[in-house]
Subunit: 163 residues, 2 copies
C-alpha cells in the first residue's frame, strides 16, 4: 500500500466526522496564518486552531512571496480575515543552504534554472521582518494593521514574537 493510498484510506473514515461539523468558509477567528511547510510544525496543535477557525498558508520557509500575497488578498477580500500571523522557525531547510548552492544542486539535473530563487536565509529574525514588511506594504490587502511575526524554536517548542 503506497503512502498516498494510506492517507486516502484514512480520509474515508473522516468523511462522517467532517459532515457532523459544519464550519463556514469564512474563518471563525478572521485570521490568516502564514507558516513554513516543515513537517515538525502543526499550526493546529501549536495554536489550538480547529477546523473552521483560520486560513493556513504554507510554503518552504513560511516566507512571504507573491503567492502568499495572492492568498492573503483572497483571504481578506473574499473571506473576511483581517489579522495576519507569520511563523518561521529555527533549523529551517532554507537556512542550511544558499540560493546559489541550491541552484548548483539543480544544475546537476537540468540545464535550465527556475524562474524563482529558493529564498534561503541565514538570519531568522531578519527573514521574519522582511516578510512582515512585505505584508504591511502590500497595496492589495484590506487590513495591514494586525500583522505579527513569530519565530518557533523547534528545540524548545517556544513561539517568540519578533518585533
Amino acid at each position: 500500500m503506497s503512502v498516498i493510498d494510506r492517507l486516502v484510506a484514512h480520509a474515508e473514515g473522516y468523511a462522517a466526522e467532517h459532515r457532523d461539523s459544519t464550519p463556514t468558509a469564512e474563518p471563525r477567528l478572521s485570521v490568516a496564518i502564514v507558516v513554513c511547510m516543515d513537517a515538525r510544525l502543526s499550526p493546529y496543535a501549536m495554536l489550538g486552531v480547529d477546523e473552521g477557525d483560520a486560513h493556513v498558508i504554507r510554503n518552504a520557509g513560511g516566507i512571504v512571496t507573491a503567492d502568499t500575497l495572492r492568498s492573503l488578498a483572497a483571504s481578506q477580500h473574499l473571506l473576511g480575515t483581517h489579522s495576519v500571523m507569520v511563523i518561521q522557525h529555527t533549523d529551517c531547510g532554507l537556512s542550511h543552504t544558499t540560493d546559489e548552492a541550491f541552484e548548483q544542486q539543480l544544475r546537476a539535473y537540468t540545464i535550465s534554472l527556475p524562474p524563482w530563487a529558493l529564498g534561503s536565509f541565514d538570519d531568522l529574525e531578519a527573514s521574519i521582518r522582511r516578510s512582515l514588511q512585505l505584508v504591511r506594504s502590500c497595496p492589495f490587502l484590506l487590513h495591514r494593521g494586525d500583522v505579527r511575526g513569530f519565530a518557533f524554536d523547534v528545540e524548545s517548542g517556544e513561539l517568540n514574537e519578533v518585533v
Copy 2:
C-alpha cells in the same frame, strides 16, 4: 485579548508537548501535500497525518503556482520527499469569482493591479488536472512519478481522486 494573543497563549502550553516528540526535519512519510488554505480543511485530521509525517504546502485554491514548485523543489532536493498529493475542494472561494471580477474588486482600493492573477477556476477537476500537469512537467523536481490529485467535497467530507 486579540485573536493572535489567544493563539500565542495556547502555544505556551504547547512547548513542553512539542519537546517530548522529536521528529526530524525529513518527513517520515516522504510526502508533500499541496492543499487549499480553506479553514474547513485540516489535512492532519483528514489524512491522519501527525507532526513529522509530511510537508504541508497551502495557498488560496491549493493550485500549483511557481511558489508551490519552489516549495516542492526544496521538499525533494533538501528533505527527501518523493510523493506529491494535490487536494482542492468544492465550494472554494476561487470558484465563486473570476480573475476579472477580483481585479475589479481590487481597483476599488488601489490604482495599480497585482503582478499575479487570482487563479480562479470554474471546473474543479480541470483545475486539479492542470496542477498535476504543472508538477509532472516541472524539470526542477527529482520525483514526478507518484503525483496524485484529489477533490475534497466539503459537504460530504469525501475525498475523491481525479485521474
